[in-house]
């Protein structure tokens, strides 16, 4: 955009006309492996000079209740990969941390399957 033009580019339907990866300085790979259901929790430390997008993401990670990567991405309306990059930044600067969680993906584990079934019946 030419200098001196401070007009905000905004489209009612599309939202701000900023390429999603501008928020990540063009980075398309998160610095650590995050799954869609990795749970992120705020540590309470808020770095100074945090930009708007990082702030917005951090606000969705409550200190007492973790949120999943997929949920955060949906709430900030950013692509998943962009959200992962921003979350990695927050983890690296100490503002956020990975919450304790274990993914049970063994479809031959009868005990897990039976517990989930029991839970569904109780809903």
């Amino acid at each position: 955009m030419p200098s001196g033009n401070h007009e905000t580019w905004f489209d009612d339907a599309a939202g701000p006309l900023v390429r999603p990866y501008a928020a990540t300085n063009g980075r398309t790979e998160p610095s650590r492996e995050l799954d869609l259901v990795s749970r992120i929790v705020a540590t309470g430390y808020v770095p100074e000079n945090l930009d708007l997008q990082h702030t917005e993401v951090l606000q969705l990670c409550h200190p007492d209740q973790s949120a999943e990567v997929a949920e955060i991405a949906g709430r900030v309306r950013l692509p998943i990969m962009v959200t992962k990059v921003l979350l990695c930044d927050l983890i690296e600067c100490g503002a956020a941390a990975l919450a304790d969680a274990s993914l049970h993906d063994d479809a031959s584990n009868l005990a897990v399957l039976q517990e989930v079934l029991k839970g569904l019946h109780a809903l």
Binding site: L36, E71, L110, K118
Partner: protein, 193 residues
Amino acid sequence: MRSNTVRQVKILIAGGFGVGKTTAVGALSEIRPVHTEEVLTAASIPTDPLTGVEDKSSTTVALDFGRITMADLDFVVYLFGTPGQERFWFMWDELATGVLGAVVLVDTRRLADSFPAVDFFEDRRIGFVVAVNEFPDTARYDAEEVRHALQLGPDVPIIHCDARERESMKWVLITLLTHLIDRAKRRRAQALP
């Protein structure tokens, strides 16, 4: 704040475009279902000459995310509504990582739209059930007609559902878990000498 490690389980809800995946995730989820998107660049998009996708430098894949917390058991079930189009298979691979089982949602007016999902789960040996979403204005087919049309094996459960109704979708998940348990038991029995 709970100190126990949360145990997570993933379930996919797949099916063709407009079959009711978003509605189904919404009926089951305790949170307002999240609609999120992944931007994919040309390098990751298999070319599709019929739909002209090869002309685009990027495309957006949408997915729906929902959650069911079973507080007493420290279990959280995650639901992912996945894009049904064949050309998004590579996206399914990421979603299917660590998945316990799947629901293939079917609209009998567009049965062929479910083929890619059925093939995907069969190829990867992921246990699934077929749930026929009953749209008000559609002809009813019995389970065996659907089984024949989708060329499903005799062990795949086929049930009718209303994607808008929580109880109906809950029953679909119960059917899925029951199927996964039967499957695990069968495999265990086969593994014995």
